[in-house]
């Protein structure tokens, strides 16, 4: 609260703002952590995701995730290429966690209408994208309890900042 005594007015008013209610936080908080915390309750299979993908994603990412010209990224391919000169960084080859795929699709996709899908639709279409990459079976149900356990091929592919790694010679 503000105290009305000279210099202290400013100082004690800095703590302003209003308490954030649990409802407001719940509405805004869409972070999903790698261990599955933050996943909303829901479920979906790749089989169910196929139709959603066809109607909401294929226009940009192509029928089977091949991507399209003008930088509509492919959602498949690249597995096994990372250590080569022609590395291809894609969902299946590079992304370390399935939770990141879910989180990104839920917050940012479809690109032109983000956050318009229901929770079950997001699980289903995430399952379908992972299925296109050969990472989950078509009938496997993904939900808030098992999504984090889907092992991505590049889970162990990240190391902390190694810099300064380059030594210049005079």
């Amino acid at each position: 609260m503000c105290k009305l005594v000279g210099f202290l007015v400013a100082v004690s008013c800095f703590g302003q703002g209003r308490p954030a209610s649990a409802e407001l936080i719940q509405k805004l908080d869409i972070t999903v952590f790698a261990d599955g915390r933050g996943l909303p309750v829901g479920k979906g299979t790749a089989a169910a995701g196929r139709a959603i993908y066809k109607s909401k994603c294929a226009v940009c990412h192509n029928d089977n995730g091949e991507g399209r010209e003008k930088q509509y990224p492919a959602l498949i391919g690249g597995i096994g290429t990372l250590a080569t000169e022609r590395s291809v960084k894609r969902v299946g080859s590079f992304w370390p966690y399935a939770t990141t795929v879910f989180d990104y699709i839920r917050r940012s996709m479809p690109f032109d209408h983000p956050r318009t899908m229901g929770v079950d639709e997001v699980y289903a279409v995430t399952a379908f994208v992972l299925h296109l990459n050969g990472l989950v079976a078509e009938g496997m149900e993904l939900n808030e309890k098992n999504l984090a356990a889907v092992k991505m091929p590049n889970r162990d592919g990240f190391v902390p900042d190694q810099r300064p790694d380059v030594k210049a010679r005079r």
């Binding site: 400013a10 008013c13 800095f14 703590g15 302003q16 703002g17 209003r18 308490p19 954030a20 407001l24 936080i25 805004l28 908080d29 869409i30 972070t31 999903v32 952590f33 790698a34 261990d35 940009c60 003008k70 930088q71 509509y72 990372l82 250590a83 080569t84 000169e85 590395s87 960084k89 969902v91 590079f94 992304w95 370390p96 966690y97 939770t99 990141t100 989180d103 990104y104 917050r107 940012s108 690109f111 032109d112 983000p114 956050r115 592919g157 990240f158 190391v159 902390p160 900042d161 190694q162 810099r163 300064p164 790694d165 380059v166 030594k167 210049a168 010679r169 005079r170």
Partner: protein, 389 residues
């Protein structure tokens, strides 16, 4: 007298919307919001990545600029989901997670804190993307233009956080924007409590929409993507989110197939901005000039070579050299008209010396492209044309 009148008439006539007073020698009317002279046409170069609006970048015309402050209208941009239209009076910042008192702050609340202003550089983690693979751009705007300098004003985040009480278990802060894609990045708590700024001002006025109006995070010396624009949510947590933009993007894939993650700081770098790619020079005197910067404090030295790197001489640094800000360097040169390769390299206060392309690729390979900071040589042909090497 006649010449002077003609000049004034011209000056007044070209200013659109200003009425010309036929028999007056006084100049044009004043303007409520200034514009540059009509003949000054320097502009950003825009690269839209996809046919859907909103992904891509605009790059600063470094070769055209003086000093170290980038005019706000020419500051670089990198967007992943377009520029949202936000009303400042409706914008709120929610702080929650591992804190004692989750809070909602309006812009008015934030502006009540004591303000802090400082000049900093900002560089995209993907600046000069492509050069690591040997794909060079023809000019310095396209190659190095994801770099700008500005005075930023806001509130040190640690001051605001006193009001929420961050719990000791909080090791990361997830910053999220109110753009269409709700772009999010995880920031280590040490940076948050050090010099992180909640910025609402740039070069003396409110942020432009493209720069995150009305509020952005500013992390001095760190890759631009971490300076989350349209900031509306800060979540304190014991772990990073591993968001798409900190795993799939902005990580550095090395030769061995492993990628460095959470590579935030921009290492020391310099580049000659004049003469540079696509310019043409005549034999005789030229002042070689350019910029140097480091995310690790101060630039201590810039050297210039005009013989392809065989010999180096110290350039003059414009004083004062500010930490974490662009530094202007100058080097006098008389060009004899023979083909030459000119380049600069810098050293920062940690003793880090800017490497050559070969030295960098030897360690990192050519897979990544992020955080590429090698020396940039320009070739001056016998015809005076400057091209990339």
């Amino acid at each position: 007298m006649k010449n002077r009148r003609r000049f004034l008439a011209f000056g007044a006539g070209v200013l659109a919307g200003c009425k010309k007073a036929p028999d007056s020698e006084s100049g044009a009317h004043m303007r409520v919001y200034g514009e540059r002279a009509p003949g000054e046409t320097s502009a950003r170069w825009i690269l839209e990545l996809s046919a859907s609006p909103g992904t891509g970048s605009s790059r600063t015309p470094l070769a055209d600029l003086y000093g170290t402050i980038t005019p706000t209208s020419l500051h670089y941009e990198r967007h992943h989901s377009g520029v949202p239209a936000i009303e400042a009076s409706k914008h709120e910042l929610v702080i929650h997670g591992l804190v004692e008192k989750p809070l909602v702050l309006t812009m008015e609340d934030i502006r009540k804190f004591p303000s802090f202003s400082r000049t900093y550089f900002m560089e995209c983690g993907g600046n000069t993307m492509g050069e690591q693979r040997g794909n060079t751009q023809p000019d310095v705007q396209r190659s190095h233009g994801l770099l700008s300098g500005a005075e930023w004003t806001g509130v040190p985040l640690r001051e605001v956080l006193k009001a929420v009480g961050v719990k000791p278990e909080a090791k990361w802060m997830i910053a999220e924007g109110a753009d269409a894609g709700r772009m999010a990045r995880s920031i280590p708590i040490e940076k948050v409590m050090d010099d992180a700024l909640l910025a609402y001002g740039q070069n003396g006025e409110a942020l432009r929409p493209e720069q995150g109006y009305p509020l952005r995070l500013f992390l001095p010396g760190w890759e631009g993507n971490t300076c989350v624009k349209w900031l509306h949510r800060l979540q304190f947590a014991d772990a990073p989110a591993y968001s798409a933009k900190e795993t799939a993007y902005y990580t550095e894939l090395g030769k061995d197939g492993k990628a460095q993650i959470f590579t935030f700081v921009m290492e020391a770098r310099s580049v000659i901005t004049r003469p540079s790619g696509l310019q043409k020079i005549a034999p005789g005197f030229h002042e070689i000039t350019g910029l140097a910067w480091t995310g690790k404090g101060r630039i201590t030295q810039v050297e210039v070579s005009v013989d392809g790197g065989k010999t180096w001489a110290e350039a003059e640094l414009q004083q004062p050299v500010l930490p974490l800000a662009l530094v202007r360097f100058r080097y006098p040169w008389t060009w004899d008209g023979k083909e030459a390769v000119i380049q600069s390299r810098c050293t920062d206060e940690t003793g880090f010396l800017q490497p050559t392309h070969e030295e960098l690729v030897e360690v990192r390979g050519s897979n990544s492209g992020y955080h590429y900071n090698a020396i940039k040589p320009w070739r001056v042909g016998a015809d005076g044309m400057v091209t990339h090497v």
